[in-house]
C-alpha cells in the first residue's frame, strides 16, 4: 500500500498532475490514519493486559522442573490478532507446554491460561522477565515487552543442588577382586576379567583361563595411597567475617591443593557455604586450571539454606538417652520433672525432625571418590551445625576427617572445639 502511494506521489511530481496527487495523497492519508488507529488500539490492549502467575513450588533446586500456570486477562478485538507470551526467568529452560496465548477474534475481555514447565539451570532468585504483547492487523504489526514489577512477579527461589552424577563404578564391568600378591614387578593383581580385543596376552592368567575355558586377563595395581578430599566452607555473603583468617584459610587450601596435585597428580575439592553445595572440582589434574577455579570460587557465597544451629537426629537421640539415664538415676522430684519435660521435648523434636537434604547431597557427592582422608576448612563463624552433616557420611565410609577451624569463634555450635586461632580437630 505504501509502495502504491509512493509511486502515485512520484508520478504526480513528475507529471505535475493534481488528480494523481489526489489519489496518492488521499491514499497516504488513509495509511497514516490506519496506523494511528492501530497504535490507539494497541495501547488500549496493552493497558488492559494483566497476568497472574502461580508456581507449583516457590522454592526449587536447580535442575528440578517447576510448573507455572499463568492467567492472562486482556481486552480482545474483532480485527486484531493478539499474541501474548509469558517471558521466562533468565537461565531457565522450557521443557513442556507453551508460554504463549493467542486471542480469539472477539471484542471484550478475554481470559487465557497457559501452563508450562521450566527447569532453572542456575541457582539464585530470578524473577520472570515480563510479558511480550504482539498485536497484528492486515496492515500493521507491533510488539511491546512489559517489564513492570507487577509483570515480573513472582520471584522464583532456586537453591543450589549437589546432585552431581556419580562416576560409573569400576566394579560394573564384571571384574572379580582377587587381592593376592604377585611376583610380577612387585605389583598387586587387582582383579581378573575376561579377555577383550586389544588386551596384552602377556597379562593372561593361564591357570584361571584353563580352568574356566575362557581367557582371563590380570589387572594390576600398585599399592598407592589415595589423595585427600578437600572441603572448603565459605562464609556467608553479606555477613561480617574475619578477613585475615579467610585469607589464611585460602592460603592453606591452595597450598594443600598444590601439594596434593604434585603428590597424587589429581585433587578433588568440594566448595560449600553452610548447608549449600556451591561447586565441585572433580579429580582435577591441571594445577593452573584448578587454581583459577579456586580463585574464582573462593569468595563469600550466598546461603539460600540455613540450618539455624539444628542438631541432627543422632545427637538428639544421644541427648534423649542421657535424659532417660538421668531419669532412671535421679530420685529428686523437681529434677525428675525437669528431665521429663526435656525428654518430652526431645521426643517431639525427633518426631518432626527429618534427615536434611544436604546430608544426602554430601553423601551422593563424595560416593564416587576414593579417599582415606578428608580435610575440611572452615572459619567456624556463625552457624556451623552443617559440619556435622558433612562429617557423618564421611565417617560412615571410614574416612578420617581433619577439620581445620581457622580463627577463634566461641559462639560456634557444632560440637566442635576450636581452642586456638588455627586448630585442627581430627574426628
Amino acid at each position: 500500500m505504501c509502495l502504491i502511494c509512493f509511486m502515485l506521489i512520484s508520478a504526480a511530481i513528475i507529471l505535475d498532475d493534481m488528480a494523481i496527487l489526489l489519489a496518492g495523497g488521499t491514499l497516504g492519508a488513509a495509511v497514516l490514519g490506519r496506523s494511528l488507529i492501530f497504535d490507539h488500539r494497541m495501547r488500549e490492549i496493552v493497558s488492559s493486559v494483566s497476568i497472574q502467575r502461580s508456581l507449583s513450588k516457590n522454592s526449587v533446586r536447580n535442575g528440578t522442573p517447576v510448573s507455572v500456570s499463568s492467567e492472562i486477562v486482556f481486552q480482545g478485538s474483532s480485527w486484531l490478532q493478539i499474541e501474548i507470551s509469558d517471558l521466562l526467568p533468565p537461565n531457565t529452560q522450557l521443557i513442556e507446554g507453551n508460554a504463549t496465548v493467542i486471542s480469539s477474534r472477539e471484542p471484550g475481555e478475554q481470559t487465557k491460561t497457559c501452563t508450562y514447565r521450566i527447569v532453572p539451570l542456575i541457582h539464585g532468585t530470578p524473577a520472570f522477565s515480563g510479558i511480550s504483547v504482539s498485536v497484528r492487523d492486515p496492515f500493521f504489526e507491533g510488539s511491546i515487552t512489559m517489564t513492570r514489577p507487577e509483570d515480573c512477579e513472582p520471584v522464583l527461589s532456586v537453591l543450589p543442588s549437589g546432585l552431581f552424577t556419580p562416576l560409573p563404578s569400576e566394579s560394573s564391568d564384571g571384574t572379580r577382586d582377587s587381592r593376592r600378591m604377585s611376583t610380577w614387578s612387585g605389583s598387586d593383581i587387582h582383579s581378573l576379567r575376561e579377555y577383550q580385543t586389544g588386551d596384552d596376552l602377556r597379562h593372561a592368567d593361564w591357570k584361571v583361563s584353563a580352568k574356566y575355558g575362557k581367557i582371563f586377563i590380570r589387572r594390576y595395581s600398585l599399592p598407592t595411597s589415595l589423595p585427600p578430599f578437600i572441603i572448603v566452607d565459605l562464609p556467608e555473603y553479606g555477613e561480617p567475617y574475619p578477613e585475615k583468617e579467610f585469607d589464611r584459610m585460602i592460603a592453606e587450601v591452595t597450598g594443600l591443593v598444590r601439594h596434593t596435585i604434585e603428590t597424587f597428580q589429581k585433587v578433588s575439592v568440594l566448595i560449600i557455604s553452610g548447608p549449600n553445595i556451591i561447586h565441585l572440582i572433580r579429580e582435577e589434574k591441571n594445577l593452573s586450571r584448578c587454581m583459577s577455579w579456586l580463585q574464582e570460587g573462593l569468595h563469600p557465597a550466598h546461603r539460600p539454606v540455613h540450618f539455624y544451629h539444628m542438631q541432627d537426629r543422632t545427637d538428639l537421640r544421644s541427648h534423649l538417652r542421657d535424659v532417660e539415664h538421668a531419669l532412671a538415676l535421679d530420685d529428686d522430684t523437681p529434677a525428675q520433672v525437669f528431665f521429663s519435660v526435656l525428654q518430652d521435648r526431645f521426643i517431639r523434636t525427633l518426631q518432626y525432625h527429618r534427615a536434611s537434604a544436604f546430608s544426602g547431597q554430601v553423601a551422593r557427592t563424595i560416593s564416587p571418590f576414593q579417599m582415606s582422608d578428608a580435610f575440611l576448612f572452615s572459619l567456624g563463624c556463625s552457624d556451623t551445625s552443617h559440619i556435622r552433616q558433612i562429617v557423618r557420611p564421611l565417617q560412615s565410609q571410614h574416612i578420617r576427617v581433619h577439620i581445620r577451624i581457622i580463627g577463634e569463634h566461641p559462639g560456634t555450635d557444632s560440637g566442635l572445639k576450636s581452642p586456638a586461632p588455627s586448630s585442627e580437630v581430627q574426628v
Binding site: 493534481m18 489526489l22 495501547r43
Partner: protein, 157 residues
C-alpha cells in the same frame, strides 16, 4: 454471493458517480472511465473470497480515481471515499459506530486535502503541506509510543 450491505451501497455510489461524471463532463476520453469501471466491477465481484482482496481493489480503483479526478477533482474525491468505504467494509473496519465515525472523519480530512489541491496551481505546494503534516503526525506518534513503551518497561512515570 454474500455481499455485505454497506459494501454494495458504496459500490453503487461509485458506479453512479463515475457514470454521472462521465456524462456531465463529456470529455474526449469518456470511454476510459467506463472501461476502468468495468475492470473495477470485475475485480470487485471476482475477488469476493480472495485473500489479498484489498490490494486488488486498490490497484483497480486508483486508476478510476485518477481518471475521474482528471475530469473533476471532487468527483475523484467521492470515488476515493467510496473506494475507502469498500475496503473498510472488506476488512471489517466498518462494523461498529466508532468505525463509522472514524470513516466520516477520514472523509472530512480527504475533503480538506482536495480543497488544498484544488486551490493550488502546482503539485509542490500541496505536497509540501501534506509532507509537513505527515512528518509532524509521525513525530508526535513516535514520541507518544516512546513514552508508552517506557512506561510499560518499568520506568517510573
Amino acid at each position: 454471493m454474500n455481499i455485505p450491505r454497506h459494501e454494495y451501497g458504496f459500490f453503487l455510489l461509485l458506479v453512479i458517480t463515475t457514470l454521472v461524471t462521465t456524462v456531465i463532463t463529456a470529455t474526449s476520453f469518456w470511454y476510459l472511465p467506463i472501461l476502468l469501471l468495468i475492470l473495477f466491477s470485475a475485480i470487485f465481484l471476482l475477488t469476493q473470497t480472495g485473500r489479498d482482496r484489498v490490494i486488488y481493489l486498490v490497484c483497480g480503483g486508483e486508476p478510476l480515481v485518477i481518471i475521474c479526478g482528471t475530469m473533476n477533482l471532487w468527483a475523484g474525491l467521492i470515488i476515493q471515499c467510496t473506494l475507502a468505504g469498500i475496503i473498510s467494509v472488506a476488512m471489517g473496519f466498518f462494523e461498529s459506530t466508532w468505525d463509522q465515525r472514524v470513516f466520516a472523519l477520514f472523509c472530512g480530512i480527504l475533503s480538506l486535502v482536495t480543497l488544498l489541491i484544488e486551490l493550488s496551481n502546482h503539485v509542490l505546494l500541496p505536497l509540501f503541506v501534506l509532507g509537513a503534516a505527515t512528518t509532524v503526525i509521525l513525530a508526535a506518534r513516535s514520541v507518544r509510543m516512546y513514552q508508552f513503551r517506557k512506561q510499560y518497561n518499568g520506568a517510573r512515570p
